[in-house]
């Protein structure tokens, strides 16, 4: 719909189909209505503008709810503004109705200014429409040449790495002090003679500062104790899982 035609010609003709689809929000509609007063935006009659807006909304034939919400909120606010402007001035009101009206005017002026600015921008001598850049520029070329860098150290280290990576792997198990099973059986059997009552298995392990050896000795002594128990030479007792394991000579 051509707005100018609408306002200049038909006025609020009932035959016209009015809808909100053509407006970019309530402020846009207000601005167009304000323009129809044909005075400077700062001189417009806010009361008349409010009337125009409310009348337009009433006459709008098809109101689609999803787009109407903003317009209705604005209508409510304008109705409030109108009543404030008509009622006797309440000196306590803050902001005052005049202040509210001024703010509305300012908002319309801002939108109007930006709308004009947009139009003036689009009307400038634009590249590709009014002025033209060179059609076939040769172009400036940037040739990148890489100067590769490396150092002797990196070269040798790389070769070392390759060699190390592909060297056949040799596995050497380092010597470790262990207590052999035979030794443990002999030791446990020998010490069992002195064990009158239950003794913890740890008591059969020789004291050692070498933790690895101590572990090995404990493991071997345990297996030795199992073997001696199988032979019926000692008894084993344990109250529960992980409880101390105790040993005594068979009765």
């Amino acid at each position: 719909m051509d707005r100018a035609e609408f306002f200049d010609g038909a006025g609020r003709d009932e035959a016209l189909t009015l809808s909100l689809d053509g407006w970019e929000g309530p402020l846009d509609l207000l601005l167009t209505l304000a323009r129809s007063q044909k005075v400077d935006l700062r001189e417009i009659s806010i009361l008349a503008l409010v009337q125009q807006y409310l009348a337009y909304l009433e006459s709008a034939e098809s109101i689609r709810l999803e787009i109407a919400a903003d317009y209705l909120v604005m209508a409510a606010w304008l109705a409030y503004l109108k009543s404030c402007l008509l009622l006797p001035t309440d000196p306590e009101a803050d902001p005052s109705p005049e202040e509210l009206a001024w703010r509305l005017q300012q908002r319309l002026a801002r939108l109007d200014a930006m709308r004009n600015a947009g139009a003036r921008l689009m009307g400038r001598d634009r590249i590709g429409r009014d002025v033209f850049a060179r059609g076939a520029p040769e172009g400036l070329r940037l040739m990148r040449s890489s100067t590769w860098q490396s150092t002797p150290y990196e070269l040798y280290a790389a070769y070392g790495l390759v060699k190390a990576r592909t060297q056949p792997a040799m596995h050497i198990v380092a010597h470790r002090a262990v207590m052999a099973l035979d030794e443990a059986i002999e030791r446990v059997a020998r010490m069992l003679g002195t064990a009158v009552d239950w003794m913890r298995i740890e008591a059969f392990v020789p004291p050692s500062l070498d933790l690895a050896y101590a572990k090995s000795a404990l493991a071997s002594s345990f297996v030795a104790a199992l073997e001696l128990a199988r032979q019926g030479r000692l008894e084993l007792s344990q109250d529960g899982p992980f409880a101390p394991l105790e040993v005594r000579a068979a009765r």
């Binding site: 200014a113 930006m114 600015a117 921008l121 590249i127 590709g128 002025v131 040769e138 172009g139």
Partner: protein
Amino acid sequence: MNDLVRAVEAVLFAASNPLSPDEIALHVAGGDIAAALATLAERYTGHGIELVERGGRWHFQTAPDLAHLLRRTREEPRRLSRAATECLAIIAYHEPVTRAEIEAIRGVQISKGTIDVLMEAGWARTAGRRESPGRPLLYATTPAFLTHFGLGSRRDLPGIDDLKAAGLLDPLDEEEALSLETRGDED
């Protein structure tokens, strides 16, 4: 014609984009590039081609009064919607500006694609975030915007001084900006 001026002329002529004096200097060793540019610009005055500066970068273009000879079609290179046009104007005159501020000025939410269109055209860019609650993105114009619309700088925006004087470019009062923000920005 002096060698430096010739060289600057050739480089600008061959370039497919506007060049800053620093960029020109990468091709033309030594000499007063600014002086050479001034000489050239003057020499081309009244020609069918002119040398112009846009946002600190220089390029040759055809004289605006010859547009009617060169325009093949009346169609605009990029036809912007009314929403996009207003949005671009708001960004240009208020930059840097948040989406909520743009919406507050227009009194309506802007659809998702509107700013995208401006960014795609190369006329708008994001310009950091405002250090306020929510840290909203800021938008500003680009050098290509100045080039396209034939503006030497933002000071050449039509009527910007008058708008500033009338207080129409002042930051919005918070109430107005807030009333829109609470409606929720969908992305």
